[in-house]
């Protein structure tokens, strides 16, 4: 195992996306290329964690479809199929330049990482200079808390807490999440933090927000804090990546899924 030395706190890197990347933007590689550009190596070792989805083949295939032709050594890790691993878990995780966590259920992601001790390995990797990246559940997990739909209706949930503050995702694509998050921040159930649209990513160096980028024109986000019981909201202005590129619309399937979800969310059985 070639574990590099710990890097100073200001060089520890996390890239958290509100949505986007290969699972949600198959025709738009801007965010994924940006993730690769953050690595310390020109040909980074890149590990995908599809844990939050239950390690779906679809996510795993989309990962390889995106990264197989790019300058990196791509590998995935399934906690449901550990027999596939050629090396022990710790060795596999600690030997990466980038770890990329997929979307799905935040509650399950955290439970499974903890059951296998992966949470501690990831913290170690981060301290040693591995870039932690992810979208949706795979983004909120790095913060003190987020909003999960693991149990159907959106609800606040604590994360690993590597970054101060909370995060909520898909602010445009799944609008039912945002009010739950705002209420939790106002009530002090979650610390203040960020709400991100699909396609928007936050780059943290250590605890400091260093950059806000986006893969789509018009996508944005906000920073929200509760001050004396009132919400103070500030708009984020993301830098559009690859400004020359044409915007890619959301995948049809994703759009349809969301329409269904919105209908379901409005159904009377919900609280």
């Amino acid at each position: 195992m070639s574990l590099a030395a710990e890097v100073p706190p200001e060089r520890r890197t996390i890239f958290a996306m509100g949505g986007g990347g290969f699972t949600m933007e198959p025709a738009n590689p801007l965010l994924d290329d940006y993730v690769l550009s953050l690595a310390r190596s020109p040909r980074p070792r890149l590990l995908f964690l599809p844990t939050a989805s239950g390690d779906t083949t679809g996510q795993i295939n989309a990962f390889y479809a995106r990264f197989a032709g790019r300058p990196c050594e791509a590998q995935h890790l399934s906690l449901f199929r550990l027999a596939e691993l050629r090396r022990p878990l710790a060795e596999t995780v600690l030997d990466q330049d980038v770890v990329y966590a997929g979307g799905g259920s935040l509650r399950n992601l955290l439970a499974l990482w903890r059951a296998h001790g992966l949470d501690e390995l990831l913290v170690r990797a981060w301290r040693h200079g591995t870039v932690l990246a992810g979208l949706s559940a795979g983004a909120m997990c790095w913060f003190q808390g987020g909003v999960t739909r693991s149990d159907g209706a959106p609800a606040p949930l604590a994360g690993l807490g590597l970054l101060r503050g909370s995060l909520t995702v898909h602010a445009d694509g799944e609008p039912e999440r945002l009010p739950v998050w705002l209420a939790a921040v106002r009530a002090g159930e979650l610390p203040g933090g960020w709400a991100l649209d699909d396609g928007v990513g936050l780059l943290f160096r250590g605890e400091r927000l260093a950059r806000v980028v986006s893969s789509r024109p018009g996508a944005g986000g906000q920073r929200v804090d509760a001050i004396a019981g009132e919400l103070v909201r500030r708009r984020l202005e993301p830098e559009l990546l690859g400004a020359a590129a044409t915007p890619a619309p959301l995948d049809d399937d994703v759009q349809e899924l969301r329409r269904v979800q919105r209908l379901r969310a409005r159904a009377p059985r919900r609280l």
Binding site: S53, A83, E84, G102, G104, A111, A115
Partner: protein
């Protein structure tokens, strides 16, 4: 509500996911439910709620049972699984059938959703609990979860105050590691080969049954000097006497339901190196698909 003493059928391997042509163990479970059309709920957690596994469950049980499943991964996506009040649903079953896969992942997810407590209550109420592989290990106080030689001692739900080892014949390393762990002080327990079901009433082993003639199970305890001592159990073959195991259903296509197949250990139609299945020795006895009986997924969504 079933009013009977707690029952568990712990399979060393077998049942619908591993023995497609052999219904004996699943029929045995249904008979324990003592109801004409039993309510059977499938928990595919250990596979990451693999779609094809769920499909296979319904194919096997929906004709004769009131079949349902609970998914902990796709609760917001309308996959047909039970979504509202999972606890209430589980406690209204006659049988809870737990699928194979990774036992550590399964227990982690169960605990995060409070299912460990629910299953204990279900057991106490007399709802029959069963499952192969991870679906066996989970009921015991301790278990060996083994993957390619890296055996791991796992704390289960502890309904049965013993240790457990599965696939005892199919994976020699498991046997070796289990014997070593018991010799080193893991509590005594039971080891079962593929095709064997250990039927417990309360915490007492009632009988060992099998879907394959000659399949074995053992009581394993410390020999006192760092070694383990195996005592063979009497195993009752559920088939007609004299029948040969021609119909044992060697799985050569674990990827049922998603058009992918595995033959002779080669992953077919899957260029991305996601071949999850273990090598199946062609023509051999049903090779255990480890604790993960051919998990594959078709869904692809990123919804947190």
């Amino acid at each position: 509500m079933p009013a009977s003493e707690p029952q568990i059928l712990a399979l060393g391997g077998g049942g619908f996911s591993m023995e497609r042509e052999n219904p004996m163990l699943d029929d045995y479970v249904l008979a324990l439910a003592s109801r004409e059309r039993p309510r059977v709920c499938f928990l595919p957690t250990a596979s990451g709620d693999a779609d094809h596994y769920v499909v296979r469950f319904y194919r096997r049980f929906s004709a004769t049972c009131a079949a349902s499943h609970v998914s902990l991964f796709r609760r917001d996506q309308g996959t047909g699984g039970v979504e509202e009040n999972i606890a209430q649903h589980l406690l209204a079953q006659d049988v809870i059938y737990v699928g194979g896969g990774n036992v550590v992942s399964m227990l982690g997810a169960w605990r995060a959703h409070g299912l460990d407590v629910v299953l204990q209550r279900a057991w106490a109420r007399g709802i029959v609990l069963c499952g192969p592989s991870a679906g066996s290990l989970c009921w015991f106080a301790e278990a060996l979860s083994a993957f390619h030689g890296s055996g791991r001692r796992v704390r289960g739900l502890g309904l049965l105050p013993y240790s457990n080892c599965v696939h005892y014949d199919a994976e020699p390393q498991r046997r070796e590691q289990y014997r070593r762990l018991v010799g080193e002080g893991m509590r005594p327990g039971f080891a079962a080969e593929d095709g064997v079901g250990l039927h417990f009433r309360g915490t007492r082993l009632q009988r060992a049954v099998s879907s394959r003639p000659g399949a074995r199970a053992y009581r394993v305890e410390s020999g006192g000097d760092g070694t383990a001592c195996e005592t063979p159990l009497e195993v009752h073959y559920l088939g007609e006497s004299g029948s040969v195991g021609d119909d044992l259903g060697v799985e050569d296509d674990l990827g049922v339901g998603d058009g992918q197949s595995v033959r002779d250990g080669q992953s077919v139609g899957d260029g991305a190196g996601v071949g999850a299945e273990r090598s199946l020795s062609a023509g051999g006895p049903v090779s255990a698909a480890a604790e993960h009986s051919g998990m594959r997924q078709t869904a692809t969504r990123a919804a947190a």
